[in-house]
């Protein structure tokens, strides 16, 4: 079942095309990663999903309803944090949860509020004013507000911003638990690619408002191809040699260093080719990560 369906959505701010003809679909139970550099259109898209920004064209359906005509019904089933965790500095964590509980039609009991505080690790600071909180604590409270009414769809825009490594790990585990144990559909955006790689089952890569790639991570990351970073005794010469031969098809455009997207069985051949041409290979660093895939896509587009 499709939870989110975005059809050819664009958003223009004057002459700037923040989002340009974007279409994608999120199925129930998926953890859907939204990837892109700063300014790629992630937050604009998320704001359109939450009807904070009106699309210039295109349509958005959530739970089978258009967001424009069934806004309240749709938003009742969504919990979201958008970019920074901006909250009321003069209120405590518990007051925030109590106040936001009033805005939901579902009955939220004091016990649920206590459970939420525990879930986000703020039970010991429940009565402290938010102005005394660190960025990470505010982020966790923001997540608490998003989860308070037990929504079916959770939209988290940069949820690990400002968190320490332990906090990041906790949020990652929380997201995975919500998806696996409670069957929630989660759309999570980030520019920290390793985070998305560990959390998401599907990804969408946005670049300059356009979709570059979409699909299950396993499909997108071809296990037969590796991204390698070469360190040689003479990089400029090595680059010339690669460009003149058949390996030039594997060369990735990067500002610095020599990167190739190459089948793993051809790496020894590349080594032999370079040595025969008089260039010594110092190191071959190989990866097959989302980060490299992302950089490969975006650098080719640039």
């Amino acid at each position: 079942m499709s939870v989110i369906q975005v059809n050819n959505v664009s958003k223009h701010f004057g002459s700037l095309k923040a989002v340009d003809g974007l279409s994608f679909e999120v199925q129930a139970g998926q953890v859907y990663g939204f990837l892109g550099q700063n300014g790629s259109g992630k937050s604009t898209t998320i704001r359109m999903l939450l009807s904070l920004i009106h699309p210039t064209s295109g349509s958005i359906e959530i739970f089978g309803h258009t967001i424009q005509s069934n806004r309240n019904k749709v938003l009742e089933e969504i919990g979201a944090i958008i970019e920074r965790p901006d909250l009321y500095p003069y209120l405590s964590a518990k007051e925030h949860l109590q106040l936001f509980a009033k805005l939901r039609s579902k009955k939220i009991t004091p016990a649920t509020i206590e459970e939420t505080l525990i879930k986000v690790g703020l039970q010991d600071r429940a009565k402290d004013k938010v102005q005394t909180f660190s960025l990470g604590m505010k982020q966790r409270l923001g997540i608490g507000i998003a989860l308070l009414h037990n929504p079916s769809l959770i939209i988290l825009d940069e949820p690990t911003n400002g968190l320490d490594p332990q906090g990041i790990s906790d949020i990652r585990n929380l997201i995975q638990r919500l998806a696996k144990e409670e069957g929630k559909t989660i759309l999570v955006s980030s520019h920290i690619l390793s985070e998305i790689e560990q959390m998401a089952s599907h990804i969408l890569i946005l670049h300059k408002g356009k979709k570059l790639a979409e699909g299950p991570i396993q499909t997108l990351l071809d296990p037969n191809k590796m991204i390698v970073h070469l360190k040689t005794t003479n990089d400029p010469q090595a680059l010339q040699i690669i460009l003149s031969g058949s390996f030039s098809n594997y060369l990735l455009k990067r500002q610095e260093g020599i990167y190739l997207s190459i089948p793993h069985f051809e790496i020894p051949l590349l080594n032999e080719f370079l040595v025969n041409a008089g260039v010594g290979l110092i190191n071959v660093e190989s990866k097959n990560s989302l980060e490299d895939y992302f950089l490969q896509l975006t650098s080719n587009t640039n």
Partner: protein
């Protein structure tokens, strides 16, 4: 809507800024009451100096009713500025803080949010006015006692019997609530345009000062627009204290000299409230929330 109003009221009364207005009003009233208690005789002698030769006034002239009238004359000009502190911050303050996106992604329409916030700001305004009424009227009645209300107008005097005064104050405060709600709605409109707190607060205050000057200027060009300016009508609470007289020039108890003027003012103020709030709703509905 009820949820939004209670949500907003909770926030308003948890903010330290809210109590600035209550503190300012209390401080001003207490200082004036203290001054008049200590040196009220000199003040009343000064007021009566022009008519002392032709009129003998007995009784407690400087009573609680007159003190309240003096206080209202002084304060109802400035209270709008205090109201603007909260009203003009209701939407723009949230945008500035970044919480507007949190609110507008809850299952309520933007119209519901704007109206809910306006009602909450209006409740704050009314509570502030009740506080003003309590201090200016009831505390003055308690400190200075009660007697007939003797008012010096520009070219005549008005004497209202003691038992004919209190209902006029009720009317005056109800009227004043319309004046202040007009300011609240203006602040709200300003608040819907901006994404920071200071601009709308200063904008509202500036608009009040600007239109007040236009309302008081006796230039024929401005006379055409004067009847339509809210500032022309804001101080017409004083009409409750102008009384009709019979053929013997005796005051008619329970009468008001110019009821039509009060009605017209209330209509103009109400029209402004509807206009400002409607504009705020339209602007907010069309707005992209980028903060």
């Amino acid at each position: 809507m009820k949820s939004i109003i209670s949500f907003e009221l909770y926030k308003i009364f948890r903010r330290p800024r809210t109590y600035i207005a209550f503190g300012a009003i209390a401080a001003l009233i207490i200082v004036i009451q203290f001054g008049l208690k200590i040196d009220g005789k000199s003040y009343s002698d000064f007021l009566m100096k022009d008519i002392n030769d032709t009129l003998t006034v007995d009784g407690n002239v400087l009573n609680g009713y007159l003190i309240c009238y003096i206080l209202l004359q002084l304060l109802l000009v400035h209270v709008p500025l205090l109201v603007a502190l909260i009203a003009a911050d209701m939407l723009s303050g949230e945008a500035n803080l970044g919480t507007l996106r949190l609110l507008f992604s809850t299952p309520f329409t933007r119209t519901q949010w704007v109206l809910g916030k306006f009602i909450a700001a209006s409740i704050y305004t009314i509570v502030l006015l009740i506080w003003l009424a309590f201090l200016a009227l009831f505390v003055s009645m308690w400190v200075f006692g009660t007697d007939d209300l003797f008012l010096m107008k520009s070219n005549y005097v008005v004497l209202i019997e003691k038992n004919d005064v209190l209902w006029r104050y009720v009317g005056a405060f109800v009227f004043a609530s319309f004046s202040l709600l007009t300011v609240t709605s203006l602040g709200f409109l300003m608040s819907s345009i901006a994404n920071n707190s200071i601009g709308p607060i200063v904008g509202t205050m500036s608009a009040i000062v600007f239109f007040t000057i236009l309302s008081t200027l006796n230039i024929p060009l401005f006379s055409i627009i004067k009847p339509y300016l809210f500032t022309t009508h804001m101080n017409n609470w004083k009409e409750f204290f102008d009384i009709q007289v019979n053929d013997n020039n005796e005051a008619i108890t329970g009468s008001i000299l110019n009821v039509a003027k009060i009605k017209t003012s209330l209509m103009v103020l109400s029209a402004h409230i509807v206009l400002f709030v409607s504009a705020a709703v339209l602007i907010t509905k069309k707005k992209d929330i980028l903060s």
